[in-house]
């Protein structure tokens, strides 16, 4: 029975992926991409990875999908969405088929000759878990054992926003599209948004002893912000530029300060003081959640910034 379910899921995943890649209509591609995220979330549950399933549901099916849909709407405004798409040439097709077949063959060869790993890292994790300050292994890995990776990863997020901000031609340019003036939507928001905020906090709190954590919580928060934004309540317009910047950087700064304070205290970078690990991890996660929510929202609004009535087509560059 399990085999049947897995195989059906697998077929579904591959079929959906192929459709999203090869569909004629770009809108259909995007919709299928969102569905792929959803189906993958099911797959992650089958693989026993609920944390990833949560992230995939929130990020893959939620945030990325909305970002793509939004871009699609933007490209559609000028009405030349697929117009200038010439069919790729035959050498290109050949190269694509050749490299993808090579990759698949190589990977299959590698997978079917898998040796037994000499090192069992999960045993080490279990052994060190009591000292990590949390009882959920993934949170322990992300925010204690391999916290350096996480620090850099938050840096990557901040950097993405930074590049977006640097590309913004006008500092105070805001998303110019109006929200939806639908009364029922606004009535529902008063119910939905608090539910999303509570779920976000629940995920954050759950992270210390079961699946959940800052990223899932942050993505949920971002989803709430984006929903508000789409319905016309624009957080980025409410907050001052300065406040927004502080919010964006809060998580990274708190993380960095905690990291550095341990060096000043004579311990290696990122080492938590004895007994303080749990509290510090929660503090970092709280700040990270807020920042991730704001970062994802900003990435969504920054992408919108070029005004509608701009030139499109002709250019004066060389």
């Amino acid at each position: 029975m399990n085999l049947l379910i897995d195989l059906t899921l697998l077929t579904g995943i591959l079929a959906i992926a192929a459709t999203s890649l090869l569909s004629r209509s770009l809108f259909q591609s995007v919709i299928f991409f969102i569905l792929l995220g959803l189906t993958l979330a099911l797959g992650w549950i089958r693989l026993g990875a609920p944390d990833i399933a949560l992230a995939e549901a929130a990020i893959g099916a939620g945030i990325t999908g909305v970002l793509l849909l939004d871009t699609l709407g933007h490209l559609k405004k000028t009405g030349k969405l697929d117009k200038d798409e010439h069919r790729p040439s035959y050498p290109r097709l050949l190269l694509a088929i050749l490299s993808s077949v090579t990759l698949v063959v190589l990977l299959l060869w590698a997978v079917f000759h898998q040796p037994t790993p000499a090192i069992q890292l999960h045993l080490l994790v279990e052994e060190a878990l009591p000292d990590s300050g949390v009882s959920h292994q993934i949170t322990a890995v992300l925010l204690n054992f391999r916290s350096y990776d996480t620090l850099l990863e938050v840096g990557v997020l901040v950097l993405a926003v930074l590049v977006g901000l640097a590309l913004q031609t006008d500092q105070h340019q805001q998303d110019s599209l109006p929200g939806l003036p639908n009364p029922l939507l606004h009535a529902c928001l008063t119910l939905l948004v608090p539910a999303m905020l509570i779920t976000s906090m629940y995920l954050l709190w759950a992270g210390s002893d079961r699946p959940g954590g800052a990223f899932q919580a942050g993505a949920m928060l971002a989803a709430a912000f984006i929903l508000l934004h789409l319905s016309g309540i624009k957080l980025s317009a409410q907050l001052s530029h300065r406040m927004m910047q502080f919010g964006l950087l809060l998580g990274f700064t708190v993380f960095l300060v905690v990291a550095t304070s341990s060096v000043i205290g004579g311990r290696p970078l990122l080492a938590y003081p004895d007994g303080g690990a749990g509290l510090l991890i929660l503090l970092i996660e709280l700040a990270l959640t807020l920042s991730i929510g704001l970062i994802l929202l900003s990435l969504f609004t920054i992408a919108n910034s070029p005004p509608l009535s701009s030139r499109s087509g002709g250019s004066n560059g060389h």
């Binding site: 190589l106 990977l107 060869w109 590698a110 997978v111 040796p115 990776d149 850099l152 990557v156 060096v263």
Partner: protein
Amino acid sequence: MNMILSPIPWLLVIPLAGAVLTMLIPLNWRSPASMFGLLTQLLASLLLGYQVSQYGTQIYAMADWQAPLGIALRADGLATLFILMSSLVATACALYAHLYLNLTKRGHFWPLLWFLWASLNGIWLAADTFNLYVGLELLTFAAVGLVAFASDERSLEASIRYLYAALLGSMAYLLGVALLYGAQGTLAMDSLAETWHWGPTNQVAITLILGGLLLKTAVFPMHTWLPPAHGGALTPVSALLSALVIKASFYILLRFWVEFEVYRHLPSLSQLLGVLGAGAIIWGGWMALKQTHLKMVVAYSTVAQIGYISLMFPLLTAENSEASLMAYHGGILMLLAHAFAKAGMFLAAGNLIYCTGKPDLASLAGMSRYRPLNIFAFGLAGVSLMGLPPSGGFNAKWLLLQSSFLSGQWWWIVVLLIGSLLSAAYIFRVFAYTYQETEATDSFRRPPITIELIALCLSVASILLGFLSIWPVNVVSLPGPFMEAMP
């Protein structure tokens, strides 16, 4: 050793803090704050250089968890040399950018530079395969941001091309890391090397990792994203990209190549890399000869120079350890000389373009009379790139030649010679344009003397390297796991 006195954490914390700080403080404070940061970074790198040369390789366990559970940083001779190199080049480029960019652009430049620097230091020090992935992504984002923020069409196109190529490269790398983890259950380089065995899984993993890194280094057939990105960015950014950023993926390549003894087990792959390098030398040189824009000449010259550096792979053979060591030293020297010379050359080229206001070669006419100092800087960098004595480039090529002789691979000598002729040709072609005296306008803009001096300093450094070659060679030969894995 006392944890506070180790400069390793500071090499990461200062740039990261610099990035945050320069995003938050007002525009006109960003440069002074960064200047302070530059100084501390230089001091920290020098301190690390001193400690490593005195006490040998340093291992730093992040968060006090030993590898393979935690992430370890490793500062050996090779890492130290790269840290020093990036500190010097980045400082020069940062000073140049401070003088070259306007206030708003500068405001955006500083945080991006600091992120770039943090990721570079992170990569030089990393001893964990997944950590390298995150570092590479941080580097990619910072570099793409730096290319894009000129925000004209050309740089935007270049940044998209660059981003797509780099993302594909890092995904291939990650796929390789996934296979390695599945086969061996660890991510730390040391424990991977200890438990390494050349089954099919590891071979495919190494192939994917090398493929991804070659794409990111822009080795010959996968080089197409490089010239527009390096040629289209703002001048200080071009210098940073050519001198440092492509070296990062190359450095990881070298680490994998030696530490997992790829040279011993996949010798055909090393010949392939050599062939690609030879292709890069000839194709890059040829294309540089055909360009009409000054910065594109310099960018294609980078493609060719990457070719020289990758010639060290076929020469690192298990059979002849003397030839291998020579090739290693030659390759590292080449890399170092290229970092200084190319940064100097890009900055000099940027100054010339600043003067004429036009990017093409034809409008350089009369420049040698009007800006002799700048042409001199360009020329000195050119001497090193051509490999004329006395320069770092010459010593590097000499070592590579000798290594080819010793290992009996004479065909690389032919490639080296053809490459040198080509580079001489494209550099003298630029000179020929500057000596032309046409009736063209005399309304050149005068750049501040300081930015010319910065370019000159870098070019002089690449020449000085010819006299001081023994020092970097000694540093990279300091004992450590890396040198033990050396043939």
